[in-house]
């Protein structure tokens, strides 16, 4: 019975996609012109105005042409950010899992890349960046990438194609959801995680991205988030905390030996994250110019300082520095510099990285004290690092680098308050929203694997395969 339902759902889905092709107007030139006449919002109509002459009055006005330098950069950055999820995050997390769960942990990052890529082109991009509804969310006008101009500029970055901006944002949505998997690794049912992922991307990530970058209220407030400190890192950490609490502790948490099964894999993963992060931060300039170069330099500086400070904190506190510590510290530094990247100078980046390494190292002791099992420390690294970075942006934003925005230390104390509001709103909205979604998922499919399966490992239990045969 269950099989028949699954098959018919599959056939229905394929049939739907085939039959609905004519409805997906993104490739059809006349439809794009029609969309222009509808003119949903100011930003959209401006797109259409620029795009329209290309189709309707091609002979009179020169067609819009993208800046090839900017376009190249953003497409390369999109690929770099994709590499952060797989293989970067997949290896970073996979190595930290136990041997029996290694493949499942890697699989979660990989399948999220597949799943959210689809969600984004179907409706995610529209909800996040489509025409604004009450400063809270985008509407569905850009669903199926309708009204996203294949031949026109992005309303968010006039020198690059609309599609380039869309795909750059796609890989951000992907990694945000994938990050959450670290907190619930080694015991959450895959079906539950996938259902959670779709709901969470739709009802949490997409609106939140809209709040900050899509013309929503946090952006209007004037809070600074260059590349996703709140949208990506605080949000994934708040969801991770909710997940760790709702899914519950792993069997034997704080009792059994749960050492990472392959730290070399983890260090390679962290290095790939670092590499991809240049796309994440420098790409968020949305052009190949001076701000991208600044973001690139401060990104590397903060990562380096974060790795050093975590390792040295361990050296002083525990007697020896560890490879996992240095790798985690670099990631913490990268997380913290993310909201600040285009706004601060390299000397501020040193302080931001230093703070991130030490604060996040202190934070990894929290889970044992408070009793929640955040398996791979998503809350400590991304939550604490992201919060520190967002606050630090309000301290160190420097008009010399930001081209305007200033923080407390550069004569604008009001900025700090805006940062605090953005941080608090993100934590609260995402944490509560995630709890609700997890409760719903629990009622539908159940969050956890059975105790026996957890004992055997999720590689066998969820996939019928093993990482190492």
């Amino acid at each position: 019975m269950r099989k028949i339902v699954m098959y018919s759902l599959g056939v229905f889905w394929i049939g739907f996609l085939c039959l609905a092709q004519p409805l997906f107007a993104q490739n059809a030139v006349p439809d794009a012109a029609e969309a222009g006449t509808v003119a949903v919002t100011e930003s959209l109509s401006s797109t259409a105005e620029i795009a329209l002459p290309v189709v309707a009055q091609g002979e009179e006005a020169a067609p819009w042409a993208p800046d090839t330098g900017d376009t190249t950069w953003i497409l390369v950055c999109s690929a770099l950010v994709l590499a952060m999820t797989a293989p970067g995050l997949a290896m970073f997390y996979g190595g930290m899992a136990r041997k029996k769960n290694a493949l499942n942990t890697i699989f979660m990052s990989f399948i999220i890349l597949c799943l959210i890529s689809v969600q984004w082109v179907l409706w995610g991009y529209s909800l996040a960046f489509g025409p604004d509804v009450g400063k809270m969310v985008g509407n569905l006008d850009w669903m199926f990438l309708n009204n996203v101009a294949a031949a026109g500029p992005s309303p968010y970055a006039g020198t690059i194609p609309d599609y380039a901006f869309m795909v750059f944002q796609l890989v951000f949505a992907v990694i945000t959801v994938a990050l959450i998997s670290g907190a619930v690794a080694e015991r959450m049912k895959l079906s539950a995680f996938l259902l959670f992922a779709v709901l969470w991307a739709t009802f949490i990530y997409d609106p939140l991205a809209h709040w900050v970058w899509g013309g929503g209220w946090i952006g209007d407030l004037g809070a600074l988030d260059f590349a996703g400190g709140t949208v990506v890192h605080i949000s994934s950490a708040a969801a991770a905390l909710a997940g760790a609490i709702m899914v519950g502790k792993r069997r034997g948490f704080l009792k059994d030996y749960m050492a990472p099964h392959n730290l070399p894999l983890t260090v390679i993963g962290a290095s790939l994250l670092w590499f991809g992060w240049f796309g994440f931060n420098a790409g968020s300039a949305l052009s190949a110019g001076t701000q991208a170069a600044t973001a690139f330099v401060v990104t590397n500086t903060a990562a380096a300082m974060g790795g050093l400070s975590w390792a040295f904190a361990e050296w002083m506190y525990r007697g020896k520095p560890t490879a996992l510590g240095a790798a985690s510290g670099a990631v913490a530094g990268l997380v913290a510099i993310t909201p600040a990247a285009g706004f601060v100078g390299p000397m501020s980046a040193l302080v931001i990285g230093l703070g991130a390494g030490v604060l996040c190292y202190m934070a990894v002791f929290m889970k044992a004290k408070l009793g929640y099992d955040d398996a791979l420390d998503v809350v400590a690294v991304h939550g604490v690092g992201g919060t520190w970075g967002a606050i630090a942006t309000g301290l160190f934003a420097n008009p010399v680098f930001s081209g305007g925005a200033a923080g407390l230390f550069f004569g604008n104390p009001g900025q700090l308050w805006k940062q605090v509001v953005a941080v608090a709103a993100t934590w609260a909205f995402v944490f509560v929203g995630s709890l609700i979604i997890l409760k719903i998922v629990d009622l539908i499919v159940g969050l956890r694997v059975t105790e026996e399966e957890e004992q055997r490992g999720l590689d066998l239990g969820q996939h019928n395969e093993t990482a190492y045969s």
Partner: protein
């Protein structure tokens, strides 16, 4: 015949093996084992979590020898395996009732 079973530090295996081969012992069985004696285990730290590993990796060497060579073999193992620090291991000697060489069916000392 006696069975000599030595639990030694893994990095000392080559020296012990050479010492035995030099004195004409041509057969032995080696296995990787874990255990502890007076030497305490070690600590491992992964981010905020610290584990105490009680069972230390060791190498176990099994050698069957004729009675007249027992003392010499034990001395050789002790000499080669010794570092003078805690955790050097132990040597056990036990009676061996019978030995059979599978290929020829020889028994007793002839099978060693």
């Amino acid at each position: 015949m006696k069975l000599i079973q030595a639990v030694i530090k893994p990095f000392k295996l080559d020296e012990v093996k050479e010492a035995l081969v030099d004195m004409g012992i041509y057969g032995m069985t080696v296995s990787e084992v874990k255990g502890f004696g007076r030497q305490k285990g070690h600590k491992e730290t992964y981010r905020g979590t610290e584990y105490t590993i009680e069972f230390v990796p060791k190498t176990r060497l099994d050698v069957a020898v004729p009675d007249d060579k027992v003392q010499a073999v034990v001395d050789a193992i002790v000499r080669a395996a010794k570092t003078g620090t805690i955790g050097d291991g132990k040597v056990f000697v036990m009676d061996l009732q019978e030995t059979v060489r599978v290929r020829t069916g020889e028994t007793g000392s002839n099978a060693l």
